[in-house]
Symmetry: C2
Subunit: 306 residues, 2 copies
């Protein structure tokens, strides 16, 4: 777990929830002597400086990456190809460049075109909250969570060492690490993260459109279950727009499975098929129990909020 002194300087490009959390976590682990942040949005730069997420906020990407042994690209997925190209051209030769995007196929493809001047290691820490911006970050976000690495098809020793270093960084901030190919990542995350978000956004949209039930009523009676969905539906709209555009094939695949299952239950409701309903409903408890046992969820009713 010790990551003390891994880097003299680290640069965070895109200082939102994940970028600022990684900065806090690296500082807590002593992983970098200096951590600078850069963001295209001047307002985010000002806020990042004010809230102390990073040590300094240079005015340009060039200045941010110069002399940095580690560069973290933590922008929305749609901006990554461009930012990675910029970083690959301007960073010190041999620098370790990681991204933290929720979709990996698009990143791997973009990175593969950029040559071997820097070592780009695509990563995805499976952690987050519904909040965004530099103020939302905190040092413990990655603890007990899994970080996935989907390496490029590079066989050289320097790249292998870079992947190891990226894994060591994630372990230093409290994550467990899994290495897999980007296709499998994109399918696994489509079901565990992208589809849940899509469904939550859909439910909120459907409720919003229901002219016979007022929004005030939806708010009042949301403790019946609806409020749970609004947490992830409150996540950053731009980040999620990019995830769905960037992981189209896998999302459409798992969405097909979901609508098949929904049609099965719809039919069971329409025809009063009690056994099918009960059989499907019984699976939920088992899976919840497994998630709690794996330390990915607290074992308290109502998420402990009451």
């Amino acid at each position: 777990m010790s990551g003390k002194g891994m880097f003299q300087k680290a640069a965070i490009i895109g200082v939102g929830l994940i970028g600022s959390s990684l900065a806090h976590a690296m500082r807590a682990a002593g992983a970098a002597k200096t951590i600078v942040g850069f963001d295209l949005d001047p307002d985010v730069r000002r806020r990042a400086a004010r809230c102390g997420a990073v040590d300094a906020v240079p005015e340009s990407l060039d200045e941010a990456v110069r002399g940095a042994g580690l560069i973290v690209v933590s922008t929305p997925v749609g901006a990554m190809a461009g930012v990675l190209a910029d970083v690959a051209a301007k960073a010190d030769e041999g620098a370790l460049v990681i991204d933290v995007g929720s979709v990996k196929g698009a990143v791997v493809e973009a990175a593969a075109r950029l040559g071997a001047r820097v070592a780009i290691v695509p990563c995805h820490p499976v952690a987050g909250t519904e909040q965004s911006g530099p103020e939302a970050g905190f040092a413990t976000l990655f603890q007990h969570r899994w970080s996935i690495i989907t390496p490029l098809a590079r066989e050289d020793e320097a790249y292998r060492a870079a992947v190891e270093k990226a894994a060591a960084l994630w372990r230093a901030v409290g994550s467990q690490v899994e290495i897999m190919d980007h296709q499998h990542h994109d399918l696994a995350l489509a079901i565990t993260s992208h589809l849940p978000h899509l469904i939550a956004f859909t439910l909120v949209g459907a409720a919003d459109d229901l002219e016979s039930v007022a929004e005030a009523e939806i708010v009042k009676y949301s403790a019946g279950g609806f409020r749970d969905f609004t947490r992830i539906a409150a996540s950053d709209p731009v980040m999620w727009r990019d995830v769905f555009l960037g992981n189209k094939a896998a999302v459409l695949e798992v969405l097909g499975r979901f609508t098949e299952e929904l049609a099965l239950l719809q039919r069971a409701i329409r025809w009063g098929d009690a056994e099918t309903l009960e059989r499907v409903f019984r699976r939920g408890r088992e899976l919840r129990r497994a998630i709690v046992a794996a330390g990915q969820e607290k074992d308290v009713p109502n998420f402990g909020r009451d």
Copy 2:
């Protein structure tokens, strides 16, 4: 809010999460001198006695309701028509009988056939957790939540007084009270509670069926969003089976709205329509903010669990 001494004896029929919570809450409010519980399942009776959810656990429904000024029917919705008929025949004349079912049309219909020997006031406290059984109950479950009353079509003074008394009971345990017709209740709850549960059960089922992603992976990466859905998908399968069978028309109606909205987003993903995605996704934050402002949700990231 004071409900001190409202009843000499209260009887809880069906001692699960809601029944035992109401018993604890009434005891905390001093609303009944004695609270007895009855359950068809002898194991639940034993557990209810052991965990102290109620003061006594008679061996029969007759004995439980005899002399009780308040009878709470807190069984799954599918069992209510039968239990209400039994209670109406055996309770003291003029007793207040409330149910706590998540569907009201079926209860109102059953109750309307039972005459006026007792005053049946259909209620729905919009509160709960994913746990079940007599040990799961706690006194504060109804605090800051809404309890809905859907009165029968009875115009007599005694019935009006009974509705008032039921409302006073809910206020005594910390709820706010709303009175509406059962049709509107069943539609409003279909969107705020029944559909969210159906979707959560569906997602768990779809994940379970996905042969290319192992259950262990779903568990590991569940912090990406999936885990949120497993909370309500872990709710009592029999209770929920009955809700969907009992509220078929309204559930199918809101489910139709949901699948329309889902088709819209599916199409936007397929055709790369970034604007539509972002526009729908932006609604989530506003609704979440309204729910937090109304005191129906805590204002902390990740439900405060990290």
